[in-house]
């Protein structure tokens, strides 16, 4: 087990989180009944294919669900005794950025093109901590050093377009770290980056996490990235969590047929796989979800009961962890 992960120190508890969007085609059930806990020093990976509800599930934590058309239909997010879902905007805003920070797949969209990167990193500190211009710049240089942006003293004046993709992501991380958050949410932080740069950024996050013991929620669709950094894994499908386990248990013994299908369909770098075993069909529409198991129409083990009753997350019989499948132990 990872020594930075402290399972006794609960940081955040998400309970029954449900998010819907009203669209002309009907209600999109983007996230349904999502519950999990994040602990100090823990890296929790949310794994799933596109459209499975990963991003919306954390946008709900950050108050980023656009409303309308979106609404948090149910659930709570408890952080430091406060429910981020029902608390007032001002209370929540005090926490966001300082205690909970977020980085995105595309740093360009969150950096302002007309201000120097260093100024943007320092700006939050000037506003929140009342630092002087000079002090804010000095702190920005420190932070840029910490995320290993070479020549920080000089580059603090550069604009976002003068940075490479990897450097921009470092700058975003520096900005997120400015307030020393307890929770960092990273939504596909390396998806747009080359694999050698991805390795650098994942190393950086790991280094920071070991220093600060922050909890990290890492959203990704990359099974390799999850295996290399995660302590715990949540698998989302059709807007719901369908499996929850430690990373070791998940990879050694995936319990849900969808998890098993995912692992069988991904080619490996270090070994020959023979023929890949794809999952037939395509993910469900979140507007017209099937009444029973949302994976039922694609599942090789489907039975009549799966199509009528929705499976709930239950203990996996053969190892620790939870999975939402009616037929576990029967295939």
């Amino acid at each position: 087990m990872n020594p930075r992960f402290d399972p006794d120190l609960l940081l955040m508890e998400v309970n029954g989180l449900t998010v819907e969007f009203d669209t002309p085609d009907g209600t999109v059930h983007a996230v349904t009944d999502v519950s999990y806990r994040l602990h100090r020093g823990e890296t929790l990976a949310i794994l799933g294919e596109s459209g499975s509800g990963k991003s919306v599930s954390v946008q709900a934590i950050m108050g980023l669900v656009p409303s309308p058309p979106g609404r948090i239909a149910a659930g709570s997010v408890m952080f430091q005794g406060l429910d981020l879902v029902s608390a007032s905007r001002t209370e929540v805003n005090k926490l966001l950025g300082s205690e909970i920070a977020m980085i995105f797949q595309d740093p360009l969209s969150s950096l302002n093109p007309v201000f120097p990167v260093g100024w943007q990193i320092g700006e939050a500190l000037r506003v929140k901590d009342g630092l002087s211009r000079a002090d804010a710049r000095a702190r920005a240089v420190d932070l840029m050093d910490r995320v290993h942006i070479p020549n920080a003293r000089k580059r603090v004046r550069d604009y976002p377009h003068e940075f490479s993709g990897g450097m921009r992501q470092r700058a975003m991380i520096a900005m997120a770290l400015a307030q020393d958050p307890k929770v960092l949410i990273a939504d596909e932080p390396t998806t747009a980056l080359d694999v050698t740069v991805q390795a650098q950024i994942m190393d950086l996050l790991d280094e920071i996490q070991r220093e600060s013991k922050m909890g990290l929620i890492l959203i990704t669709h990359d099974l390799g990235v999850v295996a290399s950094v995660a302590d715990s894994v949540l698998v989302m499908y059709g807007g719901r969590i369908i499996e929850r386990a430690s990373a070791d248990d998940f990879y050694a013994k995936p319990a849900h047929p969808y998890s098993q299908g995912l692992l069988a369909s991904v080619p490996r770098l270090l070994s020959d796989m023979g023929r890949l075993q794809p999952i037939d069909g395509a993910p469900p529409s979140l507007i017209h979800l099937p009444p029973g198991c949302s994976f039922g129409p694609r599942c090789p083990h489907v039975a009549q009961e799966c199509l009528t009753d929705r499976p709930h997350l239950v203990e996996v019989p053969t190892r620790p962890g939870l999975a939402a499948c009616k037929r576990m132990g029967k295939f």
């Binding site: 990872n2 020594p3 294919e49 596109s50 070479p150 490479s164 993709g165 990897g166 450097m167 080359d194 694999v195 050698t196 740069v197 991805q198 390795a199 650098q200 994942m202 190393d203 790991d206 070991r210 669709h221 990359d222 099974l223 390799g224 990235v225 999850v226 295996a227 290399s228 990373a247 070791d248 990879y251 050694a252 299908g261 995912l262 692992l263 369909s265 991904v266 080619p267 490996r268 770098l269 270090l270 020959d272 796989m273 023929r275 890949l276 075993q277 794809p278 999952i279 037939d280 395509a282 993910p283």
Partner: protein
């Protein structure tokens, strides 16, 4: 003679400078690339963003005008052809793109999209056209009942199947696949990879398969070439490259790919490169990788290493090729490249 022979291909994109800028800047996107694709085989082309993979593909297809070099398909130099000869040769050479949506005309039905090449090349019309399109749709696993729908009514994986059906219409000898599965989710990606492999077996097709996902390339290719900044740095049969890479860039690239297995990840050594890829407007002299290489010497700055086999069974463009185990030791001693040893991190 191989089906496709690319020789010393160079593609430079001129950049317009200011009025006072007398030195004509250019992007050296592809700088002397040579490789073969054998009939019925898959040649994988890998490398990071901007290294020139798509430019190689587009230049071969004459979507870009080559700066110099030649491209022989079945012995005919594609870059020298024109008129009817070119149109004929083009039928043997098709392309599938990464983004099936952008490459399919949104106002055409699937039937028209897939049938269009047959009409343009006057290969079929009327009932025969109908049958041929149905056969093609069937072969790529699309319901012929959907033939009258438009591209936006299909999922990403289905759209890629439409692109494949269209590419197959003229029964080509070679299909250039530029990141054909990169935009797809893993479960769908596996469907398309299997489809491509099945079609290859049935039709004896060759693929030039471009991708940045090294695991996908291993799975689908017979031969692979690794590109860095406009040049091929290492090439050979798939097992040679994945099990015995000798170029420091190939080694770093392979070691950066995380394997979906935590046990393996905890025990694997990883070479973490520092810095960024240099600007192709002003690439380093000699070996283009030298600015990020932990073994670089004066020789590397002065002489471009040729892509030759130093007696290991495949070709590598490095003055100091060596097996991974040795490279890792040297890198660790140099201190220039972080050798990440997960055990040393106390986990």
């Amino acid at each position: 003679m191989s089906l496709l022979e690319v020789r010393d291909l160079v593609k430079e994109f001129p950049l317009r400078g200011g009025i006072f800028n007398l030195t004509q800047n250019k992007v050296q996107a592809v700088s002397g690339v040579s490789f073969d694709v054998e009939a019925g085989q898959t040649h994988g082309l890998v490398g990071e963003s901007g290294c020139g993979k798509s430019t190689v593909a587009r230049t071969i297809l004459r979507l870009h005008k080559a700066t110099s070099g030649s491209v022989f398909l079945d012995g005919r130099d594609l870059l020298a052809l024109s008129g009817r000869e070119l149109r004929e040769a083009r039928a043997d050479l098709q392309i599938i793109f990464q983004d099936p949506f952008a490459s399919l005309n949104p106002r055409m039905t699937v039937r028209d999209i897939v049938g269009e090449p047959l009409i343009i090349h006057k290969r079929a019309s009327g009932d025969e056209l109908r049958t041929r399109v149905d056969e093609l749709l069937d072969q790529v696993g699309l319901d012929t009942g959907f033939a009258n729908r438009y591209p936006h009514q299909f999922s990403g994986g289905q759209r890629q199947r439409i692109g494949i059906a269209r590419a197959l219409a003229l029964d080509p000898k070679l299909i250039v696949c530029d990141e054909p599965v990169s935009a797809l989710d893993v479960s769908i990606q596996a469907q398309v990879i299997n489809l491509l492999k099945d079609i290859q077996k049935e039709r004896g097709l060759a693929f030039l398969f471009i991708a940045h996902d090294l695991a996908v390339v291993r799975h689908i290719s017979d031969v692979v070439s690794v590109m860095y900044l406009g040049r091929i740095v290492e090439t050979g049969p798939i097992h040679e490259i994945y099990d015995n890479a000798q170029h420091p860039y190939t080694q770093a690239l392979l070691s950066a790919v995380p394997e979906p297995d935590p046990q393996t990840e905890r025990t694997r050594k990883r070479l973490v490169l520092t810095g960024d890829v240099p600007d192709p407007i002003d690439p380093p002299s000699g070996c283009r990788f030298r600015t990020r290489c932990w073994k670089a010497t004066e020789l590397c700055a002065n002489e471009t290493p040729p892509l030759v086999d130093p007696g290991i069974g495949h070709a590598v463009a490095c003055h100091y090729p060596e097996p991974l185990a040795v490279a890792v030791e040297v890198a660790a001693r140099s201190g220039e490249v972080a050798v990440r040893d997960p055990f040393a991190m106390g986990s």
